[in-house]
């Protein structure tokens, strides 16, 4: 039993981090407030909106309903881990090219949900994309362009350059 801080080792975007977290801290708060990963956005903090989605051992989950102490030894990917320098990940590039975002608040979570999908199913149909994005609320209502972006990213990742939309 541990009273007070809990020692955890998390692998965040490829780096092992040894941390002491409060026993009630959510993974969202540890990533955002503790590690300064501000691409993990705090929305509803009740598991409903998907703004805080990260990849936990490859699965897209809302980090606001994951207990940080429970994530011991987990591999975590946030939006900060996707680009290589100025070179965007193909899903990020597709969101830019196909206007998959307006205000951008839901975008990191939506891109990570899309990455979890494409890592498992590189050639999803539209219904599979819609299902994968079912936990990412977009109050701008950009859903059709988000879906189009993910489908375009899938084609781009399968090989062959994706022409940018005019």
């Amino acid at each position: 039993m541990s009273a007070g801080g809990v020692h955890v080792v998390l692998e965040v975007n490829g780096d092992k981090r040894a941390l002491v977290v409060e026993p009630h801290a959510t993974l969202l708060r540890v990533l955002r407030d503790g590690l300064g990963l501000n691409g993990v956005l705090a929305g509803c903090e009740a598991g409903d909106c998907g703004a805080c989605a990260v990849l936990l051992d490859g699965r897209a989950v809302p980090s606001c309903v994951v207990l940080a102490a429970s994530a011991e030894e987990a591999r975590i990917e946030t939006i900060e881990g996707l680009a290589h320098g100025w070179e965007l990940h193909p899903i990020q590039q597709a969101f830019v090219d196909h206007h998959g975002l307006q205000c951008g608040f839901c975008t990191p979570g939506a891109i990570l949900a899309a990455k979890a999908l494409l890592d498992e199913n590189p050639a999803p149909d539209e219904q599979a994309v819609r299902e994968a994005l079912s936990g990412n609320l977009c109050r701008c209502g950009s859903y059709p362009k988000m879906v189009r972006s993910v489908l375009a990213a899938a084609r781009a990742m399968a090989g062959g350059a994706e022409p940018a939309s005019p």
């Binding site: 809302p62 606001c64 994968a132």
Partner: protein
């Protein structure tokens, strides 16, 4: 609009259980001052006022094991259940409930055990498990015990779990030959909680007589419930249109839904009647195919 007021969530202790015994020991120690946490999708949303969290994620209770019936570990996730080939035939309604559960981001966190222990009538797993005569297996300081799932739900968000007990497994008996099932669920949207749901399981004799009927309802009262009067009225006779109409009306009468923003009492009762009728017709069709 004001933000929803939420109390800050703080606990002073975290216990990582590695075995069921660890979890039971910690529960014996903290009693009602502790909450069990697995996927986190209940505890970190409900934010109970407790001093300790007992983390049971590592208990290795994520199995689906076929052996006569089907044993489902309490930590099996919605994703595990969505895609399991073992949830076929009459057990398909458990996979149907998993596919109806929330949104994609929750399915790798939320567990079937958490869904049952929350004991909320709106949730999707209790009705199919009630209709399949599942048994829940519990472990506590006094040892292991099992009880029919119908005896697990005592009142709104209250279960038969003792203060030092955890749910470890759900066991579904192998359905008899000639059994068919159906799950019907209505929500405002694909990802919203249910307005109402109905699970139906029927076993038909070769001559078409109904040997066993189970009708379980969600969002139809303070607990997930069976419509026992409607069930009894079906047994011993063929499932024809008049039997279906009568049973659906009886089940709607047994239901005790509450008016809430998702639907009025009258509307829910209407949906229940329609769903029980459709569920009986679908389950009877599948039972005939299975015979």
């Amino acid at each position: 609009m004001d933000a929803i007021p939420r109390a800050p969530f703080r606990v002073s202790e975290y216990v990582r259980a590695h075995t069921v015994e660890d979890a039971v020991d910690a529960l014996s120690h903290f009693g009602s001052r502790a909450a069990i946490i697995a996927g986190g999708t209940n505890v970190l949303v409900d934010r109970p006022r407790v001093d300790a969290l007992i983390d049971i994620r590592r208990l290795g209770l994520r199995h689906l094991r076929d052996g006569g019936g089907l044993a489902i570990g309490a930590l099996a996730t919605v994703a595990d259940l969505q895609s399991s080939p073992l949830l076929a035939g009459p057990l398909r309604i458990v996979a149907d409930a998993a596919r109806a559960h929330g949104h994609a981001l929750l399915r790798h966190l939320a567990t079937i055990g958490g869904n049952l222990c929350k004991a909320h009538p709106v949730l999707d797993f209790p009705p199919p498990l009630l209709a399949l005569d599942a048994e829940v297996r519990l472990r506590g300081g006094g040892g292991a015990r099992a009880l029919p799932i119908a005896e697990f739900f005592l009142d709104f968000q209250r279960t038969a779990l003792g203060e030092d007990e955890i749910l470890t497994e759900i066991a579904i008996p192998a359905p008899a030959p000639g059994t068919g099932s159906a799950l019907l669920r209505q929500g405002w949207t694909r990802v919203d909680l249910a307005i109402a749901s109905a699970a139906v399981v029927l076993t038909l004799a070769p001559d078409g007589t109904c040997c066993k009927a189970r009708i379980a309802l969600g969002t139809a009262g303070p607990t997930p419930m069976r419509a026992r009067e409607a069930e009894a009225g079906l047994e011993g006779r063929p499932i024809d249109e008049s039997a279906i109409t009568r049973a659906a009306a009886t089940a709607a009468g047994e239901a005790r839904p509450m008016s809430f923003f998702r639907g009025s009492e009258a509307y829910k009762r209407h949906v229940i009647r329609v769903f029980v009728a459709r569920g009986l017709a679908a389950a009877a069709g599948r039972a005939r195919e299975a015979a």
